[in-house]
Symmetry: C2
Subunit: 304 residues, 2 copies
């Protein structure tokens, strides 16, 4: 019996081409559905933060698996049809998201924007900067992102404290965060967006940080209270590097754009070059598990 | 018998204050010498790239040890008086110099200057960038800098090949460099400046790199042929991140300032905050060895 899989592009279809008993449709959910859409059991939506609409999903009555290409799954949680499972792409973007966190930290500490302005003026002004050496880095998130950020911090002689949703060897519990904030020079937010973490970085969290601390958010905008951060930035008390914000795209008239002491990148942590090849491997392995009747990897919501 | 040590500032003097049999002079070599200058056996010049002049050193007839505060010692090599030794501050700036190399690499790959320009225009333009993942990083230098750059590259799923002056387990010989260049996406220059390495990165070296490669120099400017690099930059074939240049300060009318595809920082790899505390420990340990008649650490030129 054939299993029908729907993928968003020809590249992913090619990655599955040699698997037997498989009918692969290429459709990204826009426009009219292909003739066999009603047969789709395994759906890979395109790499995007927005989920399919309920109306789009209603076109797939036999849907059993939604394999997203993001690590975060929050927008999909209330979309999973009865009898289907939702799987995250855990690990797909973790390395490159850790990279953007480290890029933001080092660019801030070593003052790359200041030196870029000097270069534009042809000005050699040797000014020594701060550094990770001896700093306290608080990493919220013990997954692919947090692990790597902590490792890099330690290579550069910083102390890294890692917090996860579950306390374990080398990982503090979320409940410890209030005690860890007053000594944190840098906080990296790399937790999934869940009811437990939404709004975690609020006014009280920020107020507990020492003067001059850097807040890095590479997780999801909803974890951080933008207004509370704006207050601290405007007061000149804290610094921020934000790859994610609570409304994306950030509207052009939003005050965050021109607030002092903040660097904003447009959610580019994931999706860096080569991600498609990693995605091909992840999706292919998951389809093989499904065909073999094995337990799927990275199931976030199990059907009922 | 008292041993006379000369240090450049009160901080270093304080770090030695409780050692016995020691007369500590604070003098940075400028202005008239202190009354006991002729007694100086152990000299710590201030953290600077320029060595003391022969005339300044001639004021210290009893000099036995020059302990510099830089890792590179090249400017001092022909200044060491007969009977004296020259010691480098190996390891003092390695961590923060590796940090600036990684900052330059990640800022380039993840296009932080581009996103800074977008932020200035309040523009959310989600554009995916390149990344270290899957890249070939060629690290020239197997010391404190090179080791850390290689470790960070591997954490971000790049391949790192390390070259040292001496081939050993995990370290290639300088002779292998020509074979390693054609597949290098990024080259990090972190070798000391010696007769063997001066001018290493010349036109032939650069020509062997693939299109789009990034050249990072955090060692000394003399290792790289600036004119040859300018030709490649102007042709749009290579990119560069330079924390050091062959004439420092770089004159304001030098064409490198406004060449395309180059980022310049004014030799700020070392000297980042906290270096004085590390220097205090290094100098104190060395003075203790000297007082105890033990073998000194990091001797680069031994007296004759």
């Amino acid at each position: 019996m054939m299993t029908t899989v729907c993928v968003p592009d020809a590249g992913l279809a090619a990655a599955l081409a040699d698997l037997g008993d498989l009918d692969v449709l290429v459709w990204d959910g826009d426009g009219p559905p292909p003739p066999d859409a009603a047969e789709i059991e395994f759906l890979v939506p395109r790499y995007a933060l927005q989920p399919w609409s309920p109306a789009q999903l209603a076109q797939l009555p036999r849907l059993r698996v939604i394999q997203v290409l993001t690590a975060g799954v929050e927008p999909w949680l209330d979309r999973v049809p009865p009898g289907a499972v939702l799987c995250s792409a855990r690990g797909l973007h973790g390395g490159t998201t850790a990279e953007i966190a480290v890029a933001g930290i080092l660019s801030h500490l070593r003052e790359l924007p200041r030196f870029a302005a000097q270069q534009a003026r042809h000005e050699w002004d040797r000014h020594f900067t701060t550094t990770l050496r001896g700093r306290q880095v608080l990493v919220l998130g013990a997954g692919e992102i947090g692990r790597r950020v902590a490792e890099v911090a330690r290579i550069f002689d910083a102390s890294a404290t890692v917090v996860g949703r579950t306390a374990r060897e080398g990982v503090h519990a979320l409940a410890d965060v209030p005690h860890l904030l007053p000594t944190a020079d840098i906080v990296v937010v790399a937790l999934p967006n869940t009811p437990e973490t939404t709004g975690l970085v609020d006014a009280a969290f920020l107020a507990a940080l020492p003067d001059g601390a850097l807040v890095v958010n590479v997780a999801r905008g909803a974890l951080l209270d933008t207004d509370a951060l704006l207050t601290e930035l405007t007061a000149g008390r804290l610094y921020a590097f934000l790859d994610v914000v609570d409304v994306e795209p950030l509207p052009s008239d939003h005050p965050l754009w021109s607030a002092p002491n903040v660097v904003i990148t447009p959610h580019i942590g994931g999706g860096a070059s080569g991600w498609e090849q990693v995605a091909d491997r992840i999706v292919r392995a998951q389809v093989e598990r499904y065909l073999a009747g094995k337990e799927l990897a990275n199931v976030v919501v199990a059907g009922y």
